[in-house]
Amino acid sequence: MGRLVLGIDTGGTFTDAVLLDLENHRVVRSTKALTTHDDLARGIASAVARLGVHPGQAEAAVISTTLATNAVVERLTRPVALALIGYDPELLDQFELNRHIFATVAAHFLGGHDAYGRPRPGFNPGEIAAWAKRCWPDVEAFAVSAYFSPLNSRCEKEAAEAIRRQVPAPVVLGSEMSTSLGAITRATTASLNASLLPIALQFMEAVSRVISPLARGALLCCRGDGTLMRFPTAVARPIETVASGPAASAVGATFLAGRTTALVVDAGGTSSDIALVVDGSPRISQQGAEVGGYPTAVPAVAVRTLGLGGDSRVQLAGPAASAGEPLLIGPERVTPLAKLASEHQTVAAQLHAIGRRPLAPEDAVLLDYWYLVRYPQSETETLTAPERELLDALAAGPLNLPALLERLGVPHLRLVPWQRLVRRGMVARAGFTPTDAMHATGEYEPWDREASLNACRALGSLLGRPPDEVPRLVFEVAARTLARAIVGYLAPRPDGTPGGPASGWMVEGALRPGSANSWPLVPHLRLDVPIVAVGGAGPVLLSRVAEILHTECLVPPHHEVASAVGAAVAKPVARSEARVYPAGPTGGFLVSVDETHSTFYDEETALAHARDALARHVRDLALREGLPASGDVRLSLFPEGGGYRVVAVLEAGQQTAEVV
C-alpha cells in the first residue's frame, strides 16, 4: 500500500472520514457518522473510530470543517470588541454599512492612513487602551482595524500593543487578516476571527487528541480556497476555514475522477453547484466568502449555484418562456409526484384519471399538489385563521390546486396564505420533477413509477407530444439550463475576469443547433475540460450537458465522500503578500513587505525589490508555520488601484494527484 492520508469532512448532515492511498489513487476505506453540531469533535471521533486506522498508519491527517460557519450562524461566537480607526461613522450610516460590521461592541477612533499610507491626524493609542480596559470584563478578545492598513500597519500595531499592555486578551489586526482594500470587510474578518479563537482552540485540541495518534506527521486544516494550513495556524486564523466544504468537494471530486483539471458539477435535490478546478486548485472568487450574512475578505472558491436539481419543480413555460424553452425547471424544490402517490392512494388514482383525459393549457395546475406535513407543535407557533383553514383543508389528504381553491372558496393562489406555512415546514408542495422523469424511464424508481408515467401522459397532452418523449424533454431542458449556467460561470470579460455576457444567439445557437436562425453561421461551443458529475442527480443530468458542450462526463466512485477526499489531497500552502503603491501625490513608489517599507523612485525597481523580498519572506513564513520551505515560490502580480499586490505562494508538500 502506498502513502496513506486520513481525510475528514464535517458536513451539514454527515461527518465523513476516508483513508486515502495517494500513490495508488484510491479510497481504501470510508465511513460516515452523524455530524454533532453542538460538539463537532464527537462526530469526528465516531467517524474515525469506525474507520479502524492503526496508530501511525497515516502519513498525515486533514480536516475540512464547518466550525467557523456553524459558530457564526448558531451565534456561538465569543464576545469581541472592535476598534475602528480612521473610519467615518457618518458614511457608514449613510450607506448602511453598519450591518456588515460584526462586533459585540465597536468604537470609532481618529487616525488611520490615507491612500498613500500616510498617517492621518488624531491617533491616540492611550485612548484606545483606556477603552479596551473598560470593555474587558464583557469581552474575550479584541480586533483592531485601521483605514488603509494594508498599506501601512503601524496604526494597528501601536493600538494592539497599547491594548495588550492593559489587558491579557488576544488582539487580531485587520492587516493580518487581509491585504485587500475594503475597510469594512477587513474589520469584520478581524473581529469574526477574534470571536472564533477560543472555539477554534477547543475544537483543534479535541480533534488532535483523537487523530494525532493515527497520523505520523502533520495535522492540517482546509481553507476556503482549497489550500491547507497546519493546526497551530488554524488555531490562530480560524476564519480562514470558512467555506472549506465546497473547496474540498471540488478538489476531491476531481481527484476521484483521476484528473487534476475539471469542471465539477454537484447536482443535488434542490440545486447544482458549479466549480472549476485547474491543476488541483479551485478557481477563487473575486469577492471574499460570506459567512452568516457578513461579508469577509477570506478567499473562497468561486462556486455558481443554480436552482436546478433532481427535485426541482417542472412547469410548462407558457407564453412567458425565456430562451424559448417549453419547460421551466426550478428554482423551487417540491416532493416528486411518484413519492406523494406512493404515500397517498388518492393521488395515485387522480393521476391515473388525469393521464387519460384530454387537457387544455389551464389544466397544468392539476399536477400542482399541496399536502399537510404537520400541525403546529407548540404554542409559540401561532396561526392566523386563514392559515388554520388551509391546514384543515389538507387534513384529509393532498389536494391539487383546483381542488384546494374550491375547498377554500378562493379564486386564486395569491389569496391563499401558504408562504409562512411552507417556510415553517407545515405544508409542502408536490409536482413533476426530474426524479419523476427518472421513474418514467426506469433509471431510478424507489417510489410509484405508475404515477410518474401518468403524469407524463398529462404533460404530453399539455405539450402536444407523445408521453414517452416527455422524460427526454425534461432531461434536455435541464441539460440546456445547466449548460447555460456553466457558460455564465465561465464567460470572460474583456480583461479576462469572469462575469462576461453569456446569452445571445451565439450561445443559444451553440446549445441548441438551429435555434438561433443564424445559418449560414453555425455557432459551436466546446468545453475544453471534462465535467465531473457528483451528487444524487449528477450522473443523469450531466451526461447530456457534456454532450451539448462536446466534452466527456466523468462520474467518479466514492463521490459521496468527495469532501473528505478533497481535504486529504489538498496542498499545504504558505502565502504572503506585498504591496507596491504610490508614495505620495507627486511621485515615487513604496514597497511594503511584512514590517518593512522601502521607497523607490522608479516603478520597475520597486517591483523587482518587492518580488525578491517577498520570495524570501514567504519561505520564512513557511518555516514559522511548520511547513517545509524548499520548493518553488510562485509569484503573481495584480494591479490594484495605483499600484500592485504581489502574491507569493509556496506549495509545501507532495499531496497532489497525478493525471491518470
Binding site: 458614511l91 454599512l97 490615507d114 491612500a115 488603509f148 482594500l181 475597510a183 507627486t586 488601484g641 495605483g642
Partner: protein, 212 residues
C-alpha cells in the same frame, strides 16, 4: 437659420462674448431648440478651437476666451433647458485631481453634461481624494468624473478610486476619467468604469454608465 448658426460658431471662435449672447437669443426667437443651438452653433465652434489649439495655431488665452463665450451662450440657454421637457439625466460630481490646476477640459465637460440635462457639481481644481469622498457622501452622485492633465498627477485618480474601495462604497458610484495624458488602458488599470477622449464622448459615456 444656417446663416445665424455659422455666425454663432464664428463668435465662439473669435471670443465675441456679447455677439454670441445676442445670436443665441435670436436663434431661440426663430424657434431653434437649445439642443440644436448647442449641436449646430456652439459645438462646431468649440471643436474648431480645440483642433487649432492641438495644432499649435491657437493659444491658451484665446481658448479661454472661446470657452467663456460658450459659457455665456450656455447661460442664456440654461433656463430653457431646465423648463423644457428634459428630465434630470443624473447627478455628476467632477473635479481636477490633487496637484493639478488645469480646468478648461473639465469645464467643457461640465458644460456639455449640463447641456445634456445632467446635474453637475464641480469641485474645482487640486481636489484631494478625501474631498471627492466627502462629495460622494453629500451629493450621492451617479457618476464621479476625474480630470488630470499632467502625467505626474494621474496617479491621484487611482488614489480616489482606492479611497472609494477602502470606504466600502466603490460600487455606489461609476467613475469616469479623462484628460490629455489619460488613456483607456490607464483607466482600466486603475479600475475606472470608463474613459472619454473628449467632452462630447464624455456625455455619451455618462449616458451609458447611467443606463448600466
Amino acid at each position: 437659420m444656417l446663416e445665424l448658426m455659422r455666425k454663432l460658431s464664428q463668435a465662439v471662435i473669435s471670443g465675441e462674448v456679447e455677439t454670441a449672447a445676442q445670436l443665441t437669443e435670436q436663434l431661440l426667437a426663430q424657434g431653434a431648440s437649445p439642443q440644436e443651438i448647442i449641436d449646430n452653433g456652439l459645438l462646431p465652434g468649440m471643436d474648431y478651437v480645440g483642433a487649432q489649439f492641438r495644432k499649435g495655431e491657437m493659444f491658451i488665452p484665446e481658448v479661454l476666451l472661446s470657452a467663456r463665450t460658450m459659457q455665456t451662450a450656455m447661460d442664456v440657454l440654461k433656463p430653457r433647458l431646465v423648463t423644457g421637457n428634459v428630465p434630470c439625466q443624473g447627478t455628476v460630481v467632477i473635479g481636477t485631481v490633487q496637484g493639478d490646476l488645469h480646468d478648461i477640459g473639465k469645464n467643457l465637460v461640465r458644460m456639455m453634461l449640463e447641456a445634456a440635462g445632467f446635474s453637475v457639481i464641480d469641485l474645482g481644481i487640486d481636489v484631494p481624494a478625501e474631498k471627492f469622498l466627502e462629495a460622494v457622501k453629500t451629493h450621492r452622485p451617479h457618476i464621479l468624473g476625474l480630470s488630470a492633465l499632467l502625467t505626474t498627477t494621474m496617479r491621484n485618480m487611482a488614489a480616489v478610486i482606492d479611497t472609494l474601495r477602502e470606504a466600502g462604497i466603490r460600487q455606489a458610484v461609476k467613475v469616469m476619467v479623462g484628460g490629455a495624458p489619460v488613456t483607456a488602458e490607464f483607466a482600466r488599470s486603475i479600475g475606472a468604469d470608463g474613459y472619454a477622449p473628449n467632452a462630447v464622448a464624455a456625455v455619451d459615456l455618462a449616458r451609458s454608465l447611467i443606463a448600466s
